[in-house]
């Protein structure tokens, strides 16, 4: 790994200043970024750790729903979100393995926007709001394709605010070696309709399955989408699963999530 200057600011303002510099890159839990740097796929000149900022830590109920600080590790979300938003807590408790969950954070996950990461499906399906040091971004505007988000240079996530649905569940089909989702589906039922977020399957990253949302908003049952088909044309293919296989998983996992919600 190439060397870099390491800084660990204690406030959001200091972090913003550090990240405005040339060649600066934000570091959260590092569970993806550090392996990436070891492979020299990333070589920042300055690494700005965001895990020492108290305002970016923790889980609490507030305006608009459940607020989760961007630097909150998965293990903390799994424990502390359980009574407010059990489906989200269960998702966090199923990411990677225990050691990854000690370090990896929600902000890191959605800033990276890995197409097989778990959290993006929950953020999208919940219609959550991504709060950065500059603005608030609706989930529908935030995810913009593989490893691509609405975040601009020097912008970083402070917290994510989740409206709490009446019913929700996440069902993940594990890729057992990486423990990422081969496909994962998050279903959330709100008073004004159902949202379905799909990760691991789409060839352009996380997406909403709008046909299923329409059918489930009219009738929230696994049977309501029995007649729907997912077009394999939009699905990812790799050695772990073909596009047709993933297209089938999207439907099966959506049905399972509806039954589990």
């Amino acid at each position: 790994m190439h060397n870099f200057d390491f800084v660990k600011p204690a406030t959001i303002a200091d972090a913003a200043k550090a990240l405005a510099g040339d060649g600066a890159q934000a570091l959260s839990g590092g569970q993806t970024l550090i392996p990436t740097m070891k492979q020299r796929l990333a070589a920042p000149g300055v690494l700005v750790s965001l895990t020492g900022i108290a305002e970016m830590q923790g889980v609490c109920m507030g305006d608009g729903g459940l607020h989760i600080g961007a630097a909150t590790p998965h293990a903390v979300v799994a424990r502390e979100a359980a009574k407010h938003y059990p489906a989200l807590a269960a998702l966090a408790g199923g990411i990677g393995d225990p050691a990854v969950r000690s370090r990896g954070t929600i902000g890191g996950s959605i800033a990276n926007n890995d197409p097989a990461a778990c959290y993006p499906s929950a953020v999208l399906a919940s219609g959550a709001t991504v709060v950065t040091n500059k603005r608030k971004i609706a989930a529908d505007d935030y995810f913009q394709g593989l490893f691509t988000t609405a975040l601009e240079e020097g912008e970083f996530i402070i917290e994510v605010v989740f409206p709490i649905p009446a019913k929700a569940a996440y069902v993940k089909f594990n890729q057992p070696a990486s423990r990422f989702a081969l496909t994962g589906v998050f279903v959330a039922k709100f008073a004004n309709g159902v949202r379905v977020g799909v990760t691991g399957a789409g060839n352009d990253g996380v997406f909403r399955w709008s046909d299923a949302e329409k059918a489930l908003s009219a009738d929230f049952s696994a049977g309501a989408i029995a007649g729907l088909k997912v077009d394999p044309a939009g699905m990812n293919t790799d050695l772990h699963g073909s596009a047709a296989y993933r297209a089938n998983l999207v439907k099966v996992l959506t049905q399972r999530a509806v039954s589990a919600a």
């Binding site: 550090i34 225990p98 370090r103």
Partner: protein
Amino acid sequence: MTKVSMTVNGKSVSGEVEGRTLLSAFLREGLGLTGTHVGCDTSQCGACVVHVDGKPVKSCTVFAADVAGASVKTIEGMANPDGSLGVIQQAFQDHHGLQCGFCTPGMVMSAAALLAENPKPSEHDVRHYLDGNICRCTGYHNIVKAVLAASGQSVPAE
């Protein structure tokens, strides 16, 4: 180079590190605590698991500078004060929970983290929690038995 200080196995330590110095390298090369093993260096195998402020982490996937001020516990901190094996270590010996022994430090540290969270885990809980620890010898059955025994529970028969 910057100076970092932390507590390792109850003792205050400090050393010079680069930004890129991993916690695993700081422990092994800086402090000579070579009980922490680096199996894959790609976050896959769990051999390098240590505790940082009581939580299991892969020391190959944390920068030493990022845990400055923290309390770190390694396999060297698992023995009893008189040098005899700790409960989990003894259970690994009693149940032959190791073959080549390379993964053992990480297994013991993960097992200790599990038992701190869940003092009486089921066999399923143990297997699930050790998901991130890979034994290249595939000696999982005896590892699971050792962890169950260390929790004071009866172990499955052969």
